[in-house]
């Protein structure tokens, strides 16, 4: 395919130094896609990074006193693999570099996972994570692209991210850019009709530079998705709209990496990864003890955060 052949961008290595913490792990987002197979960090290294991100999520939401840690936790493996597993080209010093790959967090309430990944990637210092949701901080309760460079979309009203991704993907094609567009959606969010409009239009334009990931953590705000609005199996539905689809164990880093490999080598059109996860993955024993496996939209109180951090160390 033309867009693959046209690919040639290699991110400069000096960006590695932006964030001191980042040097603790040899996992970066700046690996040439073409050579990703060779230079990719090991699954264990990615898992370590995921653990670091999980700790950030617990700390920042507990410090904020509000937010969505469980919604963030389920998405950690995918966000980590994307940003540090060699699947995305980006430059924290040039967030508007037009050859960058784009990540849109349509389930914007899970932004702690994205902020943590961005801090680890060097967009800003990890200290800033603790300003989450505080007046004046660009780390708002939902992503605000106007205030935080590197954020690709201002989300928070569910259902809108995939349409934005279609727009980005069309623009990249028009400009003959090698960029890929990744959009992460919630399984509850799939109830929004706009998502299905976007799915249909992505197929119309055979957007092979667009990859959607559904974080199927089994819960939405008021309960289990299978009780509130059951749209499983997602793969069958989205396939019926002309997409390529795969279903994976989304909290298994190796499975995530394999799925992203497959999705990024599908040139026929848009590709979906149904990432079957657990909401709150990584701190499940704490949530179990609390008797709430959804634990939607609330931070861990300090004493539970302590327990959680112990689990994550």
């Amino acid at each position: 395919m033309a867009r693959r052949a046209a690919f040639s961008s290699v991110a400069p290595m000096d960006r590695l130094t932006t964030n001191p913490e980042i040097e603790t792990l040899p996992v970066t987002g700046r690996i040439n896609r073409v050579s990703a197979q060779k230079s990719r960090p090991s699954i264990d290294e990615l898992k370590q990074k995921a653990q670091v991100i999980r700790r950030h999520i617990v700390r920042m939401t507990t410090e904020a006193g509000s937010g969505h840690p469980s919604s963030s936790m389920s998405a950690v493996e995918v966000v980590t693999a994307l940003h540090f597993g060699g699947f995305m080209n980006y430059d924290p010093k040039r967030p508007d570099w037009n050859e960058r790959d784009r990540f849109i967090l349509s389930k914007g309430h899970a932004c702690p996972v994205l902020y943590a990944a961005m801090a680890e990637a060097g967009y800003f210092s990890t200290d800033e994570l603790l300003t989450l949701r505080k007046l004046g901080s660009p780390l708002e309760g939902h992503p605000n692209m106007r205030r935080l460079p590197g954020i690709e979309a201002s989300t928070g009203s569910l259902g809108q991210g995939l349409s934005l991704g279609v727009g980005h993907a069309l623009a990249c094609r028009l400009d003959k850019l090698p960029s890929r567009v990744f959009v992460m959606l919630g399984d509850g969010e799939m109830g929004e009709g706009q998502v299905w409009e976007a799915i249909a239009s992505a197929h119309k334009y055979r957007l092979n530079n667009l990859i959607a990931i559904i974080d199927q953590n089994g819960y939405q705000q008021t309960g289990a998705t299978k009780e509130v609005l059951d749209l499983t199996p997602f793969d069958k539905k989205v396939e019926s709209f002309g997409w390529h689809a795969q279903t994976i164990a989304g909290n298994d880093m190796a499975a995530v990496v394999e799925a992203l490999d497959k999705a990024t080598s599908n040139d026929a059109g848009p590709s979906l990864i149904v990432s079957q996860t657990k909401k709150g993955y990584g701190i499940l024993p704490v949530l179990e003890e609390e008797g709430d496996l959804n634990y939607h939209g609330k931070p861990l109180p300090p004493e539970l955060a302590k327990k959680a951090l112990a689990l994550l160390s």
């Binding site: 007046l135 205030r147 009203s157 259902g159 109830g191 939405q220 008021t222």
Partner: protein, 320 residues
């Protein structure tokens, strides 16, 4: 989660008062049903849903369908309460409200919680600050913005009694008690005069009613006697109360937790200019989106304070 109470006792959030009232009123009104969009635990329709599970429908995160389903239930004789965050209800389902509810005059009760910037940390995507403008742009829809728990309870009953579409705007945060002994004289379209005075009038709704009372207290201490109207119904607006205020006090400040455009201020201004032109000032969010932060800090930063109201009155005094 609470906002400045001034001298008043902090009471329930209006969404909580609504949730309690709906459950209570639902018992004797078998035609009442709820249609939720996966936020019943936020809007507090959850209480009704737990009490009357057969009459509660949660269609998931799909506000357009939520409103359409409610309209269909209304067409078939039910009295559906369709509830979500104010912004998702009004913004995400506006065309469905226009065509499936307002145009055919369906008896749907639209309830929007989490209105205003006082929701705090969740930030602008979850804040309904244009919802009153949108609701007032729907011919035939009654728009109610109650100030405290007691008036919300009364508004909920009035809403269910009213034959036709209603929008009820609710807040997330606990708010000061305005009506200590209940709000029995609540009537759709009739402002409540909370404070007498002839030097100026503050017309407010929602959260800003208690802030207006604080401002009036402060001004009273300085010898300025300000009338305070709880204009709980934005539509139909109480023209008589506005005309009387213009005539008798000569100056009007409108205070609301909303954008400048299309809100209560714009409705009052049209009445004033048509009937008795007097100088006015506006205390509102202006023409901007807010941000994440603690509710009190946000209200201060975005100028929704008694100090801002006092300054507005002073400005009108200085001008003549």
């Amino acid at each position: 989660m609470a906002v400045e109470a001034g001298k008043r006792k902090l009471g329930q959030a209006t969404r909580d008062a609504f949730g309690d009232a709906l459950e209570r009123l639902g018992a004797s009104r078998p035609e009442v049903v709820t249609v939720d969009g996966d936020v019943g635990n936020s809007t507090r329709t959850e209480k009704f849903a737990k009490a009357f599970p057969d009459r509660a429908f949660n269609v998931g995160i799909a506000e357009s369908n939520m409103v359409g389903v409610a309209a269909g239930l209304a067409a078939a004789g039910k009295t559906p309460v369709a509830a979500s965050f104010a912004c998702f209800l009004m913004c995400n389902a506006y065309d469905q409200i226009r065509m499936s509810v307002a145009f055919p005059g369906m008896n749907v009760k639209l309830v929007g919680s989490h209105a205003g910037i006082s929701i705090g940390e969740d930030g602008p995507s979850q804040m309904g600050i244009e919802d009153v403008a949108l609701a007032c742009s729907l011919p035939g829809v009654v728009v109610i913005v109650p100030a405290d728990a007691a008036s919300t309870e009364a508004a909920t009953a009035a809403m269910l009694d009213h034959d036709g579409p209603v929008y009820l705007r609710l807040g997330r945060a606990k708010v000061p008690v305005i009506y200590e002994n209940g709000c029995e004289n609540f009537e759709i379209g009739k402002a409540i005069r909370l404070r007498d005075g002839n030097d100026a009038t503050i017309i407010a709704n929602g959260l800003m009613v208690s802030v207006a009372l604080d401002a009036a207290d402060e001004l009273a201490a300085a010898g300025v006697n300000v009338r305070v109207l709880d204009m709980h119904t934005a539509k139909p607006i109480d023209e008589d109360a506005i005309v009387a205020a213009a005539k008798e006090t000569g100056r009007i400040v409108v205070a609301e937790e909303h954008l400048a455009a299309g809100g209560l201020g714009s409705l009052v201004a049209q009445v004033v200019t048509r009937t008795r032109p007097v100088p006015m000032e506006y205390v509102n969010v202006g023409d901007r989106y807010a941000e994440s932060g603690d509710p009190e800090g946000l209200l201060r930063k975005y100028g929704l304070t008694s100090a801002a109201i006092v300054a507005a009155i002073r400005k009108l005094e200085d001008e003549g």
